[in-house]
Amino acid sequence: MITETTPTTRDCVSKGFLPTRRPALVLEKKQLDDGVFSLAVQDSYMATHARAGQFANLYLRDLSRMLPRPMGVASVHGDAVQFIFAVVGEGTQQLSGLQSGDHVDILGPLGKGFDIREGKHYLLAGGGLGVPPLIRAAQEIQSIAGAHTTAIFGYRRNHFADSIVAEYSERTLSIDESEGNVIDLLDRWESDATAAGESTDVEILSCGPNAMMKAVAQWAREHGIASQLSLEARMGCGYGTCVVCVTPTVDGLKKVCLDGPVFTAQQLGW
């Protein structure tokens, strides 16, 4: 169901409600790596409103698979929104077949993004397909006075996002599984910074596999550094209505899609 924008949608938007699921024009699809694709779609609402760490629901044309495929926003240019995703199942397989000129239904931006402030130095600790939201974080932080970033990316194999994040981030450290992991990089960053007499007054924004993020949160805690972590969860609706995507926090169960996906290490008790 590619829902062409209906009178109902237009009516609600004109009354100031959020835009619902709608078709977005595919501007470009590129392959970045084995099974990793970049998809740019045109949606001025998303482009104007999507903050780093927020995501969109993408829906399939194949009506037999109706649940959303949530994807972090990887970057914004004009009214184009970029996603970067890996093919892991049938849905992402189908998304990888989109061509420019096609339409894909989207809903968003969804969720609570990273809390980003002026004048700060952020370490962006990403693993695998956790890097896209951190690219958007680098882009957003670049536009904020005095704030800057170091990307610290762990890949399975190819360093497919280094050149993309390099547009926005002053410095990129990256590693693949054969060489080590994100914690190794954090250690390296710290000793480099200490050696160079640079400030280690940083905050960590992280997204990646849970095990990695737990290790990052622990490393941050041990170094007295605050961390914000962007979680993944199986979702029903992705916009807060079905209570499917909950995660335990110190304040009880919270919805990853509405209260997150970004939580502080403190909130998670990590």
């Binding site: 109902t8 916009y239 209505t241 499917v244």
Partner: protein
């Protein structure tokens, strides 16, 4: 612009401005209220409320299935006291017609909730005796006419509010269950809740859902839901019925209405498009223009036979 609805309905004496409501568990004000004016809907059926807050089932709580989904939320909700000071007054302030869905693990649970709702601003109560995702109450109550009759007899005198009993499809024959509810005083029936289902992860050989089994909803169950509405309507010509199950479009809603429903509720469709319930209401308002007989019956609280 607020819609001038051309086609209304009546459920158990309560006028709905249009025949389309949201289905319980798929509407939450904080989330959905951002997308549309809730007063526009025929009715808003809210998430099942229990006497105390419930934590629900372990995650993962959903898995996709062909043209559907299996959910095992397990009725996580903040409890009736919270509901009475939060969701309900907010919905009423916005002008919504509220159907409060009542959950319980035992007869006493249901009674406690109904007691607290008796003097509330809720417009109707929907007693959920059909949730497949809780170990006691829910489905087990809804599949035995005697147990169900007993429960409804107890709840009925506790409030003047119209009482809808929400039935499960996981039964050999829905008719005796429906009849038991009606005989015990139910003012209306809503059907169907989800069908018990599960999915197994073929990489691990283990059930996918934290709760092992869950409830199937979405288009996949539409023909089953329509058959249950039809069968119930054939057996009970006069009881108001809210048709639920697999409604993704106004055409699907029409199928339920022609099967004998007085109104419908939209569930899974709302999860994949927040505006689906209102869009379906708008589209149905147009489709009913060319179906004056059906529209007339709905308006008068009668049903298609």
């Amino acid at each position: 612009m607020v819609t001038e609805w051309k086609h209304s309905t009546v459920v158990a004496g309560v006028p709905w401005k249009n025949p389309v409501g949201t289905a319980s568990g798929t509407f939450n004000l904080e989330a959905c209220g951002r997308f549309f004016d809730v007063s526009e809907m025929g009715a808003i059926s809210t998430k099942g409320v229990s006497p105390v807050p419930w934590d629900g089932n372990p995650t993962p709580r959903t898995v996709e299935s062909p043209s559907g989904m299996v959910n095992a939320v397990g009725l996580q909700n903040p409890g009736v006291d919270h509901y009475l000071v939060d969701e309900l007054p907010k919905l009423k302030a916005l002008g919504a017609l509220v159907v409060t869905n009542v959950a319980g693990h035992s007869d006493d649970d249901y009674a406690q909730v109904v007691e607290k709702l008796a003097d509330s601003s809720a417009d109707m109560l929907e007693i959920n005796v059909s949730c497949p995702n809780v170990s006691h109450g829910g489905l087990s109550v809804g599949s035995d006419p005697l147990v169900l009759g007993h429960l409804i007899e107890r709840l009925r005198p506790m409030t003047d509010k119209p009482m809808v009993v929400k039935l499960t499809p996981n039964v050999t024959d829905i008719v005796p269950i429906a009849r038991a509810a009606v005989d015990a005083g139910a003012d209306a029936l809503s059907l169907i809740n989800t069908l018990v289902g599960m999915s197994i992860d073929i990489e691990t050989g283990k059930p996918f859902l934290g709760n092992v089994t869950g409830g199937v909803s979405g288009p996949a169950i539409k023909p089953i839901a329509v058959a249950m509405v039809w069968k119930t309507r054939q057996a009970l010509p006069d009881i108001p019925i809210i048709g639920i199950g697999g409604i993704m479009s106004a055409e699907d809603a029409l199928e339920h209405l022609y099967a004998g429903a007085n109104a419908v509720e939209v569930g899974a469709a709302a999860l994949v498009d927040p505006l689906a319930p209102l869009r379906i209401a708008h589209d149905l308002d147009i489709l009913l223009d060319s179906r004056p007989q059906l529209a007339e019956k709905l308006r008068k609280g009668q049903t298609w036979r």
